[in-house]
Amino acid sequence: MSPRPGDRASLTSRLLIYGLLVVFGLMTLLPFIWMLCASIKTKGDFYTSQFLPPGHGFLGVAWDRLTLSQFAQLFRDLPVARAMLNSVFLASVCSVVATLCCAAGGYGLAKFRFRGRETVTSAILGTVVVPTALLLGPSFETLFHLGLVDHYAGFILPTLAPAFGLYLFRQAMVNSVPPDIIEAARIDGCGEIRIFFQIVLPIIRPMLSAFLVISFIGIWNNFITPQIVLQSPERYPLSVAIFSLRGLYGDDNSLIMAGTLVAIAPVMLLFLLLQREFISGLTSGAVKG
């Protein structure tokens, strides 16, 4: 490749670009850094220093005044471990089943012709813009009539059929699953269920993992539904449990920041592990479609 105009920018403009990126990057990261520092400071040091408490140690920081006692308190005295288990449980189970439901539904609507297909499709896709808050009250009523209030199932079931997920999978099926492959498999005598699991799902694999991670994070961060539906403290996910700290330990900002850190760390970790497939899966639909 021969050098093109615009590829090799002058030194000043390159410095400017890196400078801007670093400034914005720092602005993005600052709240995280601040939270990390806040979570290992003592309650007394919280307001006296912006980041780490000043002292006579290395780099002028009082390293000996740092503490992990907040984390110990979270896991030993407060039910944070249980909340973490609940969060992992709800997020993973909901995302796995929702992904399957949406993939199957999207496949059914995209690859088959049958009476009522148009009605079902437009009924589902029409609700994409309905504000979720509108359903809050009547959904609670429905859960109550089904006897699901304060049960895990009362939280899990309504999350299993997101209209947006169906839309994404229907698109993915239309765009990337050629009808010939399905026909060929049928001619080979392959069963319908097997076609779905062994041929169709592998083709839309990027979409599968992206949607799985999106749902996982979405459920993990959901606050208002578990607040209403899951009423016993032993069923609280982290979002509710950590927020509750504000009521009882409102003056202990170090503890609250430690709790927040504990609650966002697993999602960050998951994302770091999976970021490549996640970001490409995330953008593929929107950019191509």
């Binding site: 249980r82 993973s92 796995v96 498999a185 062994q198 041929i199 592998p202 993992s209 607040q227 592990l273």
Partner: protein
């Protein structure tokens, strides 16, 4: 077929594997978790210390009554409110006993009387001869349309806490103070600009025109009632207009004496330690919280009755409050009533509440207890309990309308507009602001009536 098999061997990407694994492990974990302990009655409370406080009382009760056990569950304030209201509104069961704060409790009084989620305790109190145990005004926040739905933990009279060190060093004798005017005149020398930035570094009173607590305390003290005894809003009274107009000069203009040192925040507490504000509205529970959290002020603070609005006027007010009530969904309410009596009428609770948190009992049978006369070193040796109990019969009647917060919000809006108007015109005196106050309050009254008129269930509404 071979192509299909080839594809499926790579079908699961790492992300899918990880989440599947998490699903399996966590499901196992959740299934293995022991089921929560059931059996016996449950109490929801939002105050952690109450949970701990009850521990010994509950343990003793549970040992003696294995058939009617009671366990307390601490739930965060906002979550408790949401849970209680969704339960009441949808008819889903809540805990058997609920310990809730005033602003939450009155939300339950919005529907028809027979649909209030709490058990009506009026007849229980009467049958047990307990009605006169508590001053009638103390019951009003917990009553609706004449029926009592909760037993209060205290009556929370408000005194004025002041920095005795600063006041006495200036040679000021607070015993000469009877009215707010006296207070401002005598203490005014304490307000001066030490660092020369043109702004005083010390103000006389902690509070602000947009702080609902500040304004609620002052309106109650002045008998500027936002509701009549039947629960109808009475925003546009001459008294309300007068008091709001008089309040403007406290927060703005050349005679401003108040500053915003917020409660329960680090910033506010630091300002208190620095002496940024001289006096603070001090209900009994806040006195307890200061004694616990603001230890550097020990021996520097004293309590006095609030200065009155007029000579001979009321020297106290009320702030805050928590009640215990029985949920209608609770089975065997008579049994739950015994639990309520055991908790709220016990001498043990009165003692812990005072010794730990300086909350004085609303029950007259405990008022003779010697602990209330004990000098408290934090408050320079004053008999704190007695100072609060002396105000028992002066505590103002508080409304229980579910629209109380809304009415107060409207009053704050009026005050805010008055303040802006005063700043724009440069006239801060009450006389010139009163006509505008009248007009704004009349608008607020109309808006509140319109809101209430929507509710066909609240029978007391006109």
């Amino acid at each position: 077929m071979s192509s299909a098999r080839f594809a499926s061997s790579r079908a699961l990407s790492p992300g899918i594997w990880i989440i599947l694994l998490l699903a399996v492990v966590s499901t196992t974990g959740v299934l293995l978790m022991p089921a929560p302990e059931r059996g016996g009655a449950v109490l929801w409370t939002f105050i952690d210390y109450n949970g701990k406080n009850y521990a010994s009382i509950l343990a003793a009760w549970n040992r003696a009554h294995p058939d009617t056990r009671l366990q307390a569950k601490v739930i965060e304030y906002a979550a408790l409110q949401r849970r209680m209201l969704t339960g009441f509104f949808s008819g889903t069961p809540t805990a058997d006993l609920l310990e809730v704060e005033r602003s939450i409790a009155n939300r339950a009084f919005i529907g028809p009387l027979d649909r209030v989620g709490f058990v009506d305790l009026t007849d229980y109190l009467r049958a047990d001869g307990l009605t006169d145990e508590i001053a009638p005004a103390v019951y009003t926040p917990w009553s609706s349309r004449g029926r009592i739905f909760g037993i209060p933990i205290g009556f929370h009279p408000v005194l004025l806490a002041y920095r005795a060190d600063l006041v006495e060093a200036a040679g000021i004798d607070v015993s000469q103070i009877e009215t707010w005017d006296d207070f401002f005149r005598l203490l005014r020398p304490l307000m001066f600009d030490r660092n020369g930035d043109g702004q005083p570094d010390r103000y006389l009173l902690s509070g602000w025109n947009n702080n609902p607590n500040t304004i609620d305390i002052l309106l109650l003290q002045a008998d500027a009632q936002l509701f009549d005894p039947a629960g109808r809003p009475t925003l546009d009274t001459p008294r309300n207009a007068e008091i709001l107009a008089r309040l403007v000069s406290w927060f703005a203009g050349p005679n401003r004496i108040a500053a915003d040192a917020s409660d329960f925040t680090f910033a506010g507490n630091r300002q208190r330690l620095e002496g940024y504000v001289v006096a603070t509205f001090m209900p009994d529970w806040l006195a307890g919280s200061w004694r616990k959290d603001l230890t550097p002020l020990a021996g520097k603070v004293k309590l006095m009755p609030l200065p009155a609005w007029e000579r001979g006027g009321r020297r106290t007010s009320a702030w805050g409050g928590t009640m215990i009530g029985i949920a209608k969904s609770a089975p065997r309410p008579a049994e739950k009533w015994e639990l309520v009596k055991m908790l709220y009428f016990s001498r043990e609770l009165a003692e812990t509440n005072f010794n730990e948190f300086l909350i004085v009992s609303p029950l007259r049978r405990h008022h003779h207890l010697p602990m209330y006369d004990r000098p408290d070193p934090y408050f320079c040796g004053q008999p704190v309990g007695r100072l609060y109990l002396d105000q028992e019969n002066n505590v103002p009647t508080r409304p229980s309308s579910p629209y109380t917060q809304e009415a107060l919000r409207l009053a704050l809006d009026v005050l805010g507009t008055l303040k802006q108007h005063a700043e724009a015109t440069g006239r801060y005196d009450a006389a010139s602001l009163e006509p505008l106050a009248h007009q704004l309050l009349a608008e607020a009254q109309r808006s509140l009536l319109r809101q209430i008129a929507r509710n066909p269930f609240l029978l007391a509404a006109p």
